[in-house]
């Protein structure tokens, strides 16, 4: 089994976990930089998937399963947005080219994102795998995923003997998540778009590992693990709920101001807070997970709310911890109860 993007937390965890599965003989991790975490005894080959060397690696290892996790929104360490885009798009092209030449590859798993649906006011409330987006993502990570999925579809056409599984993950959160949204929720004060309360969906890191394992192995009875699947926890959280549960106050800004600030911050190179992110935080996005349950046979352990609670625990309290607010209200309640304990002479009606 060949796994790309192992220098990241998610790739590292997946490699460590998958080795313990009995069906797996050997796991080879590939990334452009050596990982800081251990890989649990898996082999590591330092290779840049943007270079044709990946074809040689694939031929030498004779892998039968390729798990492509190197499709990410943020740079590892001090990479620029251009590097990330190149790894996402050119890296996928090179990897797919290598897979197409390899006679041993039987299964391909690609990490994608629900970003492919974009976010617009004219979209239906819930996206299914077949919904076509009303406004295609114009740039950033979202556009990368659209292009990556395009190449993967082309590959699936050319190699019908390879089982191809594309997993569209909702926003991944968890104690170790290093996604742009996790960075956003770590801000002391959350800037929001005035007059919009987007619906958000999260998927827990542990569920990501589990669903990747399901996709990387032979399908269980009466399930099918090739195709495109939305992966998200049950339920929906509004951004207002998220901020209150985190205890971080929000600053509503007008939409033009948010766009302008976003581009300013981006220019200064502080974060990669793309227009896609702003659009997500304006209109929100909810996907249907019926296919994931019925066809793929995967039941996430964490709901959206539980995922967020786990994430919130790992981040520590914000400026307005919900426990403190709840305590204050309880004190008022106790006071008012004591106050109204006296017999009243005149009733309110």
């Amino acid at each position: 089994m060949l796994v790309t993007g192992v220098a990241r937390q998610l790739g590292g965890r997946f490699v460590r976990r998958i080795q313990r599965d009995p069906q797996v003989d050997r796991v080879v991790g590939v990334d452009a930089v050596p990982p800081e975490h251990h890989l649990g005894g898996a082999d590591f080959i330092q290779a840049d998937i943007r270079q044709p060397t990946i074809a040689r690696v694939l031929a030498e290892t004779a892998a039968d399963t390729v798990v492509h996790l190197d499709v990410t929104g943020t740079a590892l360490g001090s990479g620029s947005r251009a590097t990330v885009k190149e790894t996402n798009v050119i890296g996928t092209m090179q990897l797919l080219g290598a897979c197409q030449k390899s006679p041993t590859v039987r299964r391909l798993v690609v990490k994608s994102s629900t970003n492919v649906y974009g976010s617009a006011s004219r979209d239906p409330a819930v996206f299914t795998e077949t919904t076509s987006p009303k406004s295609l993502p114009s740039g950033g990570f979202a556009k990368d995923t659209v292009e990556v999925e395009g190449y993967v579809r082309g590959f699936a056409r050319r190699r019908p003997d390879v089982a191809v599984c594309v997993l569209r993950f909702a926003n991944i959160l968890g104690p170790n998540a290093d996604t742009p949204l996790a960075a956003y929720f770590s801000l002391p004060v959350l800037p929001t778009v005035f007059g919009y309360d987007p619906r958000l969906q999260f998927v827990h890191e542990d569920d990501v590992i589990d669903v990747l394992r399901i996709a990387a192995h032979e399908p269980a009875r009466s399930t099918l693990n090739s195709g495109t699947f939305n992966i998200a926890g049950d339920g929906v959280l509004l951004l207002a709920q998220c901020s209150r549960r985190l205890g971080r106050p929000t600053v509503p800004l007008l939409l033009p101001a948010v766009t302008w600030t976003g581009s300013l911050v981006r220019t200064l190179g502080m974060t990669d807070f793309s227009p896609e992110q702003i659009r997500l935080l304006t209109h929100g996005r909810v996907v249907s997970t019926d296919q994931m349950r019925e066809t793929l046979g995967f039941q996430p352990k964490y709901t959206t709310a539980e995922t967020f609670a786990d994430f919130a625990r790992s981040r520590g309290p914000g400026l307005l911890p919900p426990e403190a607010l709840a305590g204050a209200i309880d004190r008022i309640a106790a006071l008012s109860l004591r106050g109204s304990g006296h017999p009243q002479t005149q009733s309110a009606d």
């Binding site: 004219r122 819930v126 619906r199 209150r244 709840a326 005149q346």
Partner: protein, 346 residues
Amino acid sequence: MADAKVIPFDDDRSRGSAAARSTRRRSAASRRSGEPAAVREVQPLPGRFPEQDEVPVTGEDQPPQPDHGLEQRVASGLAFLRRRLTGDYEVDDFGYDEELTDQVLMSVLRPVYENYFRVDVKGIENVPAEGGALIVANHSGTLPLDGLMMQVAVHDHHPAGRHLRLLAADLVFVLPVVNELARKLGHTLACAEDAERLLAAGELVGVMPEGFKGIGKPFSERYKLQRFGRGGFVSTALRKGVPIIPCSIVGAEEIYPMIGNAKTVARLLGFPYFPLTPTFPWLGPLGAIPLPTKWTIQFGEPIPTDGYPPEAADDPMLMFNLTDQVREQIQHTLYKLLVQRRSVFF
């Protein structure tokens, strides 16, 4: 029915009291229409408990119960505040916030519904107590107040306390604040995907197929139904096999008599029309106050759609026929209600 003795406080927390509340409201509505005003004050539930010797005129002679009610009200209010501030509430996939709708947004709309437009509801028994159904109504009044009033009508008058999920135009979801409130009230975008998903979940869905053509028509064309879109609502109902309930709303046409349309302004603002009424925009914000017309909302006989084969949804002829049937039924009921109406304002 112990709490029927006292004029109940607005104790919204439990389902049971909500049901009791709607009973009270219904009886209040029937009382208003049927009895003279003098009787109304002293007999909250006429004829229900003839054996009761104490007449609950005021709460003076029974202080513990109102006191208890106040206490409960404060406690439930604080519990509500606590849940809101800590984010400990639930919304569904469409962003519908049932708690906020029931406790806050409905309480805001209810005075408008009960005291301003004094809505009369007829035929609520035609709305099924459970399962999906599609309510199709006429659309008028420049601003979509008729949809909101229909939502209150179903919520307050239906014995099962059903919630109406309205399908709204895309403009609603572009506007800040408006889109947030619409989502929290359970509205969603008028598209086949959302409608089918709601109907499949057994929800009551409300749609106004005339769209902007209906709501933005000039005053001279009042109560003349416009084209019913492309009949998409019929194929959605056919696909899900849910009944179509025609609904006629009288009174909404006159709230903002639209005598002109400033098309240039509308284009500049990106709106489908910009209404000119006798008062708006000449009197500024004061001109935006709707006229206090008397409304009637009549739910008609359901038109079943489950008798058709599954491929019927793709049969354009059947779709046009059903669309026309629904349209005719609404138009006829409108005329009937207009004949019965004594005046626009009473």
